[in-house]
Symmetry: none
Subunit: 249 residues, 2 copies
């Protein structure tokens, strides 16, 4: 078997499965592992793939991982935010949660729209101050270093004194039976307070989070008035949510 041929096979395997182990290739090609190792080393030098300990991975795989400086699934989150923006109307009073999806919503708020926005997220607040016609009110409290949001009893008390038309919230996990759940108990307390302060609650969540759950419960799925994912509202993945009194966008 020619070297060229072997390397072609290795590349095929890598591109097909995104990753490959040297031992597997050696077996498939029936050559020594040293030969495979050398082939992979060459292909790596030619930038055809990326050699890693124990195997090789495709370039497409690696390039998408290096670009993780930006937000995960940004395009999908923007798609969600675009739908959410359609719910906003002049003179509205809304709450915007923390998290990257809500951050995209904040970004996409039209400059001319006259809004009163409550938030407890420092990054969201920073974004909102750049909107000329948006009044920004920050819910104070102790700032969580992880999430960069106000948390704790003071925050919850402050939330109890407001009342907004719409709140746009994210969640860690969402399931049609178990509702919205979180990893963090304190976060749950805050989100509960947010929902209590809202006439209507809009959940923004990428579809990957559907049908997942964790330890602490924020609310049942019926506490949500509108759920927005990046999917088409008719998508089958959303079927489980149709039984509930829930608008899907």
């Amino acid at each position: 078997m020619l070297k060229e041929e072997r390397q072609r096979t290795i590349l095929n395997e890598v591109e097909l499965h995104n990753r490959v182990q040297l031992t597997d290739i050696a077996e498939i090609l029936d050559v020594s592992i040293d030969t495979v190792r050398r082939d992979v080393k060459e292909l790596d030098a030619e930038n055809k793939l990326r050699k890693v300990h124990g195997g090789a991975i495709s370039l497409g795989f690696i390039s998408s991982s290096t670009r993780s400086t930006s937000v995960y699934a940004l395009d999908r989150k923007i798609a969600i935010a675009e739908k959410a923006v359609t719910l906003l109307k002049d003179g509205g009073v809304i709450f915007i949660d923390g998290g990257t999806t809500c951050m995209e919503l904040a970004r996409l708020i039209p400059a001319q729209l006259q809004l009163t926005c409550f938030t407890l997220s420092l990054p969201v607040a920073m974004e909102l101050v750049s909107k000329p016609n948006t009044t920004v009110i920050f819910i104070g409290g102790e700032i969580s270093k992880d999430a960069q949001i106000s948390m704790g009893s003071s925050t919850i008390h402050n939330l109890s004194e407001i009342r907004v038309d719409y709140s746009f919230i994210g969640t860690g996990y969402v399931d049609s039976r178990y509702g919205l759940t979180e990893f963090d108990w304190d976060i749950v307390q805050v989100k509960k307070a947010v929902i209590k302060s809202s006439k209507k609650t809009v959940l923004l969540s990428i579809s990957e989070k559907l049908n997942s759950q964790h330890r602490y419960k924020t609310c049942d799925i019926n506490a949500i008035n509108t759920m927005i994912t990046e999917l088409d509202p008719e998508n089958n993945l959303l079927n489980l949510f149709r039984n509930h009194d829930l608008r899907i966008l």
Copy 2:
């Protein structure tokens, strides 16, 4: 399973849920928790995520890096901040005002110093959350678009409920006879409330502002306990302030 695969999975989980715990990952990947710990440590070193006790959190959440553009007289403001830092001590409860000079103070707070910091400035809060041993409490309220600080009656009310050892404030204008003055009436109201909430008040001001005044008065010069400028404390420009009961640094 290749190490790269594992790390990619970890990144996916983290970016999807913003936060994961090591034990969950270990179970998902069916590897020992030590391996997960090491992977997360690596990813943290590569700035792909942030490792926290018990798990990891997504970077999208963390420090949107408050890169200050060009700050006027930055070196002098840093000099002031360096002096101010010497007043801080472990376990202290302080307030940090908005403005570029106070921002430099926030930047220079040592990482190991254990502090409780109140602030009403979004940029200062953003900076402070990066300090591991600093508890950050944001005074909520309506956010002023120019100053990016909380203002208004709610802010003032929130301020009335706290009491700090030191407050570090800036001012628009300062004069030995007329005291601290501002161009903006609302700002004055907030600063008054800050001073009232502080056992001791430290004024940070570059010397260019000395002997200037404006329309609305924040307080007399005796309300200030310590004044810090970039000048040597013995500098003649400070002579007019020596009559007062005022420490000059």
